[in-house]
Symmetry: C2
Subunit: 428 residues, 2 copies
């Protein structure tokens, strides 16, 4: 049995049965990290000794809680009191918060062993960290939750926490061939997460299966475990190619069509064209997120301007400073209209199926990939999930994204479990 | 000339003219603080030496910026890198953030001299700090921005920063007889402010005149100074007694009616009854704000439960933990509907006039006063301002609140300047 290859739920079972100790499970992952981290570089910081102390104390006290004894990674945009937190920025190289983020406190309370901080793009925006795609080291893992996606995909961790403001969960999870879940906006507190755009910032969960992500979701909510109950077959799926379909790489588009056709065979299914009002909200998302990014990083702009990358400073930050308060409020209002009108869409369809991103991960580490395939869904505030297809291109995974109405997170998990079955098993 | 009795704009003029030094202006305020602070207790921390160093360096370099050389106070819910920040909680007694909040960085960049941290209720909620109402030490100053309101009302500072999640700016400003301004939601970043309810949290400004508040508004926005231009006389004012009018103390209600009658003589004026859908949103505000309070303080709940007051822990926090994710999302959706329907209201009226709170400040320090007179307006996300009436009851001030549509902050200032003229001068 290679412990670190087990899914999180199986690891949890082994721990509960006493067939493996928390310490042994941790060591299996630390070995994998030692072996692979020099190539993959998923971590901003690994706290092996701290994790060993926690593991040993859990072994002495007995594991408890939804995540009792599971080793986890935390995106380095999220504050941890016992480990450095650099937000992917040279400005914060030596930063060590004194308080855990609310999400970290929830995970610890559920018995998690925090192994380390995973690499994030600068302030969860676009400047990539050093992380490589574990499936092909010459390719980007996507971002901004690069390290969380890579670590879970490469069996260094069973689960990891990330964040999404535009595409920062869905994109890296798709590029790395795993499951990524962005919850309904507001459901899980971002207290202690460095703000990027408070109108869109959410946490995000990375796992290798839909059910593993449900485990971490319930731990973050402080809820009872509620895995998908097998009700996805009764749901209505609407396939939406989005206004950006012509930017999907042709081989990926064909693979997505084949996967969707398999789903259509076992589900109520139709095609969806986005109403214009929804198709246009990517622009409003951009205005709001750039305004909030620029105003939220006022301290860094004024006190550490040379520590900001030109990509950030001259890019989205400059763009945000040019958004007037009036234009900001207009965009906020347009987004509220769009969210309420999305109710019509979700009256016809339980779940929308759409591309997670334009295709497989690009070669090179200079870009984390396109964001437009997520910005509409992010702006609508409903839950989103990417699941990997069975088919790969050049050995690289492709994902499809499922989206549900606000608050329908459990329904989304049912849909995802059903769709994953239709797509076929994720190749190892 | 008693320097600390001058309005902020007059202080600024004196500094620019060179007729007074930054250090001399600071010392005038420090003297007032030394004299009054033992009784009023507006400050969680005074950094006299740090402020003197800043003042001297501004005197050497020459004052610059909208707030160049003005002494300011910062509510102790807002992070400062050079001063402790305790969030009004025993859990954070020794807390000292390493980074300024975005708002503090904007104020420093505008040349402000940060004199100290002002008292906040526990986590900007309800458990009062030690602050007394400077107009009658036996009475509450209101909360949660208690210290900011008291310090400005008592001539210890010309301007101070606060925050509002329900009524935490409007209420204390009204109780202390000064002007309080809550900006349009989202316009000014709350990065570095301890979150209470991210769906409603905003900054807030305390000053003794409308024009002083405009000065601080523009500094926080990083904008050019744009004082009211005297255009308020052309606006349409709608007087809304709110569904809570029967809770307004009768003498205060009569004073409000008299002030509104004076405004009606010099303005387009009518009476407004809130549509039911708006009148009901206080309940949705409560569901969302309690859910977000409880989830946002997960670290404190799990790691420092005995440091939470019973008022918070067994009150709003327990209430928030009982709000289901479904109920939370339902309330969020109801609030979006209400915000969009408020557009109809503001098509008929440029500005709504309503009670700031139920009347004068209560005797005793155990409660910061009722919140329902602000929760509807807070939930609508538009800008709000309280201005003091000329009339007082038992020597204590009464305020009226002005509310405008989202993004109409400049219009609100025009309206407030006009209304303040109609009400007559604030008594000293």
């Amino acid at each position: 049995m290679i412990l670190n290859r087990l899914d999180a739920l199986a690891q949890r079972e082994a721990l509960e049965a006493g067939s493996v100790s928390v310490r042994a499970l941790l060591e299996a992952h630390l070995e994998r990290i030692a072996e692979r981290e020099p190539a993959v570089q998923a971590f901003a910081h690994v706290d092996a000794e701290g994790a060993r102390r926690t593991a040993d104390s859990l072994d002495r006290a007995g594991v408890r809680g939804l995540l009792g004894g599971l080793p986890l990674g935390i995106k380095d945009i999220i504050d941890t009191a016992d480990q450095p937190t650099a937000y992917g920025s040279v400005i914060y190289e030596a930063h060590r918060p004194s308080v855990d983020a609310a999400s970290v406190a929830m995970l610890r309370a559920a018995g998690a062993v925090i192994v380390g901080k995973t690499v994030t793009a600068e302030f969860a925006h676009r400047l990539p960290g050093p992380t490589r795609n574990p499936l092909d080291l010459s390719r980007t893992p996507g971002g901004s939750s690069s390290g969380s996606a890579a670590a879970v995909a490469d069996w260094m961790l069973p689960l990891a926490l990330g964040t999404q403001t535009t595409a920062s969960v869905i994109r890296p999870a798709s590029f790395c061939g795993i499951v990524g879940y962005r919850p309904t906006f507001g459901l899980m507190s971002c207290a202690g997460v460095k703000p990027s755009s408070p109108s869109f910032d959410t946490l995000g969960v990375f796992g290798r299966t839909v059910r593993d992500c449900a485990l971490m979701r319930d731990a973050l909510l402080g809820a009872e475990l509620r895995p998908p109950a097998g009700e996805g077959g009764a749901l209505r799926f609407g396939f939406c190619r989005t206004p950006f379909w012509d930017r999907v790489e042709p081989r990926a588009a064909a693979a997505m069509e084949r996967a969707v056709a398999r789903l259509a065979q076992v589900s109520a299914f139709g095609e969806v064209v986005l109403p214009d009002a929804l198709a246009r909200i990517a622009k409003a998302h951009r205005a709001v997120s750039s305004y909030e990014l620029a105003t939220g990083l006022a301290t860094e702009r004024h006190q550490h301007p040379s520590g900001l990358s030109p990509l950030l400073r001259d890019g989205k930050m400059a763009e945000g400073l040019a958004v007037s308060p009036e234009a900001y409020v207009e965009a906020v209002t347009a987004l509220e209209h769009a969210r309420l009108s999305a109710a019509d869409l979700f009256a016809s369809w339980d779940v929308i199926v759409a591309p997670s991103v334009s295709g497989i991960a690009d070669i090179g580490l200079s870009s984390t990939g396109p964001a437009e395939f997520s910005s509409i869904w992010t702006a609508l505030h409903g839950p989103c999930m990417t699941i990997p297809l069975a088919e790969r291109i050049d050995g690289m995974p492709i994902g499809l994204q499922l989206i549900a109405a606000r608050g329908r997170d459990h329904l989304l998990f049912e849909a995802a479990e059903h769709a994953a079955g239709a797509f076929g098993p994720r190749p190892d």
